[in-house]
């Protein structure tokens, strides 16, 4: 019985090739501490580990729960584990208290006896809690607050994690309306040409957005393979420079000529569109205003519209937006077909409608390599294609900035996350009362 949000990954287990996973053969538990998965074809170790990271449930607790009650069984709120920490108390939407699990040997009990995760919806209040010492760690501190925070409390330090998050401007590569109506692919009247999209990237001053908002916590983004994934990252790609003159020339070559009002026109159509983004994101608001100015200066009329997140996401999925600003948080395994795959029915997150058969092929080839390093040549080429075709304008990678009290010691933040080695953290006994 498998009830998991990640169930599509079971497609490689024994039996799946014949239509139905044969769980008796595919999954074995020879003893209390061993779990064996059998695949019908060779699967790279890193992907196998990633795909089979299904949490086993203790049979002695769950065996009487009916399958259709799995999602709402109270046992979900009382998880049982054998790791460094166990759940002591969970008040939904309020706090989760973990206590060090003295009997853990996976790998050992956590150092700090009790850790409490609190839900504080308001950012200002979280910031205040960090400053007063009511909280020891607050994630995602905005760069504009660093100076005041560090000045007010010297016992705080800012730590960075990354790079896993990037923002981009999405351009509809295809005419989504035509695709919805007839299922045929027609280039989008504004953004259908790779040359136009490249011109747009050249016209946007990405460094100015970084300098103005993210400062040293932002890096220009060339494509969706993070510079942190060194084994796959293509360091020979030079970012497209901010060059409005080049952008204008490229647009002219594509037939976009300034009209009487200064706005570019082609066959009677003005280069005018709405750039949508989701509400409540100060960083994207900041970036969108700069993008609007940049584009205006080369004769493109870009209107801004902010939508409530649910509405924005629904419109994006329905292919109703011509241009939008959004972001992705990438996984540590590279598996980008969901976002760029040519089969739009399968690639549910290919909002741009970008299609490139070589890119599809590269993604498949990379998956077949048993050793991730063996896939490197494919990923290098993959990045060159994205760099050339600019299905979207990649803006910047974000170093996530986390506020830490200095009384926490032994923390090692890395790309896996801020709490990666939380069981090794130690608390320095406070000599004075926190201010």
């Amino acid at each position: 019985m498998i009830a998991s949000a990640r169930q599509q990954y079971l497609a490689e287990l024994v039996g799946a090739d014949k239509g139905q996973v044969d769980f008796d053969k595919a999954i074995e538990t020879p003893n209390d501490t061993t779990l064996i998965f059998r695949f019908y074809k060779p699967v790279p170790e890193h992907l196998a580990l990633f795909h089979t990271s299904l949490t086993p449930l203790p049979a002695h607790r769950w065996k009487d729960v009916k399958p259709d009650e799995f999602r709402h069984s109270p046992l979900n709120l009382n998880p049982l584990g054998a790791g460094p920490y166990k759940l002591k108390n969970w008040m939904q939407q309020q706090e989760i208290v973990l206590a060090s699990n003295r009997r853990s040997n996976l790998p050992k009990p956590g150092n700090i006896p009790s850790i409490s995760f609190k839900v504080v919806p308001d950012y200002t209040v979280r910031l205040t809690q960090l400053q007063t010492g009511a909280a020891d760690v607050v994630e995602n501190i905005k760069p504009e607050d660093f100076t005041a925070l560090l000045k007010a409390n010297r016992q705080i330090q800012i730590k960075t994690v990354g790079l896993r998050v990037y923002d981009y401007v999405g351009w509809s590569n295809i005419d989504h309306e035509e695709y919805r109506k007839s299922g045929t692919f027609k280039p989008h009247p504004l953004f259908g040409s790779a040359s136009v999209r490249l011109a747009l990237t050249n016209a946007i001053d990405r460094q100015a957005i970084i300098d103005g908002y993210l400062k040293q916590y932002g890096v220009v983004c060339n494509n969706d393979i993070s510079p942190s994934l060194k084994w796959a990252y293509n360091s020979r790609i030079t970012p497209h420079a901010f060059d409005p003159a080049k952008a204008s020339a490229m647009l002219k070559a594509e037939g976009w000529i300034p009209g009487a009002d200064g706005i570019l026109q082609k066959n009677g159509r003005k280069f005018s569109f709405v750039l949508y983004t989701n509400a409540g994101n100060a960083r994207r608001n900041y970036a969108s205003v700069i993008i609007q100015q940049n584009l205006r200066s080369i004769g493109i009329d870009c209107k801004l519209d902010v939508q409530e997140s649910n509405v924005f996401f629904e419109n994006l999925q329905a292919g109703k937006l011509d241009a939008w600003m959004a972001g992705w948080s990438i996984g540590l395994e590279i598996d980008p077909l969901d976002v760029w795959g040519s089969n739009l029915k399968k690639s549910r997150f290919n909002f741009t409608g970008y299609r490139n058969s070589r890119l599809d092929e590269l993604c498949e080839l990379a998956k077949q390599k048993m050793d991730p390093k063996g896939a490197r040549p494919y990923w290098l080429e993959y990045q060159e294609i994205l760099h050339r075709d600019q299905p979207v304008t990649f803006l910047y990678w974000i170093k996530e900035t986390q506020g830490f009290s200095k009384r926490i010691e032994g923390e090692e933040l890395n790309i896996s996350g801020s709490f990666y080695n939380i069981d090794d953290w130690r608390l320095r006994p406070s000599t004075t009362v926190a201010p």
């Binding site: 998991s4 949000a5 990640r6 169930q7 599509q8 990954y9 259709d68 999602r71 709402h72 979900n76 709120l77 008040m91 939904q92 939407q93 309020q94 409490s116 609190k118 839900v119 504080v120 919806p121 308001d122 200002t124 209040v125 205040t128 809690q129 400053q131 007063t132 009511a134 007010a152 409530e308 997140s309 649910n310 509405v311 996401f313 629904e314 419109n315 999925q317 996984g331 969901d338 976002v339 549910r348 997150f349 201010p435």
Partner: protein
């Protein structure tokens, strides 16, 4: 009077059902998908579909409505979509006491301070004190509450760390003992209740002042003074009782404001009360929870109004219900 109360309760039933029906359709008309959380890379595309099927969201709207109606008439408001499929009333049972405590304290603070300030302003009409209180009341009355809340936090939790920033209790407050726990809880409620009540109190103060000034000029007050009664008795026994009649109606009508005020107070101060539950339910398009919350707050407001009307009749013997 009992017949009157009974009649009002009977009228309240279709009223609340009307509100719920409207809510049912309005939230379904709003864009957004309750299963949207499950639409992301790495999650099987089947999951969102399974969730929609499980929630019955694939049925046509009228079918959904009648299914919902049949369940609600049996007292079953369903399970929350966004909170691990807990029954909605379990979620509300945890949240409601918190909001009722805040609302109750706010109501008491509203009227205590509002009435006191109103009386002082009225009996010292046009004095410096009256002008000062009037200007101050107007100042707080015009202040956006969410901004005021943040300013109070910055002032009393950051600059002068007297009160806690957020939450209902300190971490580990369970070990303080029952008395310590309750004191700690009240300590955490000082800032939010102040923020929520200062605006209302300022409004009530203006009402009481106006009403007192009218009453003080009446003949029976002159008579009372002429009888040689002490000023205290004149003000509190003769004037105040009459001046408070219009204020009682305010009690009923201020309930919706307190409930809507609780929405942002709970978000800012991180209280897991009805306000926050509602806000989060709306963002998550958690239909059953939104409707159940509307039911609870709608019922409380209807009952609050009824209570105010009854109180009105009790306070003023001229009114027969």
């Amino acid at each position: 009077m009992l017949i009157y109360i009974f009649k009002r309760l009977l009228i309240a039933i279709p009223l609340i059902f009307g509100v719920l029906t409207l809510t049912f359709f309005i939230i379904r008309l709003a864009p957004g998908d309750p299963a949207a959380f499950f639409i992301q890379p790495g999650i099987s595309p089947n999951v969102a579909e399974q969730i929609r099927a499980q929630y019955g969201l694939n049925d046509p709207l009228p079918v959904q409505y009648f299914k919902w109606l049949a369940n609600v008439l049996q007292g079953d408001f369903g399970r929350s979509f966004s909170r691990a499929q807990q029954p909605v009333f379990d979620v509300i049972a945890e949240a409601l006491p918190i909001t009722v405590t805040i609302a109750g304290l706010t109501l008491v603070a509203n009227f205590t301070f509002g009435i006191l300030i109103g009386i002082v302003s009225a009996i010292r009409q046009n004095s410096f004190l009256d002008r000062f209180l009037t200007v101050t009341a107007l100042f707080f009355y015009s202040m956006p509450e969410f901004w005021f809340a943040l300013m109070m936090i910055i002032l009393f939790a950051l600059k002068f760390p007297i009160f806690p920033v957020s939450g209902l209790n300190e971490i580990g407050a369970e070990s303080y003992g029952v008395f310590g726990f309750i004191v700690d809880r009240f300590w955490h409620l000082v800032l939010p209740v102040t923020v929520l009540s200062i605006n209302g109190a300022a409004g009530i103060a203006r009402y009481v002042r106006g009403s007192m000034l009218e009453v003080i000029r009446q003949d029976y007050i002159r008579t009372a003074r002429a009888k040689g009664l002490p000023e205290n008795v004149v003000i509190f026994k003769h004037a105040l009782r009459n001046a408070l009649l219009p204020v009682i109606t305010l009690m009923g009508s201020s309930l919706p404001f307190i409930f809507s005020g609780a929405l942002f107070i709970e978000v800012i101060f991180a209280f897991p009360g009805m306000g926050r539950v509602t806000v989060e339910a709306i963002f998550a398009r958690d239909y059953p929870l939104i409707i159940a919350n509307t039911f609870i707050s709608g019922s409380l407001i209807v009952l609050g109004n009824l209570f105010a009307d009854v109180l009105y009749a009790v306070a003023d013997p001229r009114i027969k219900l």
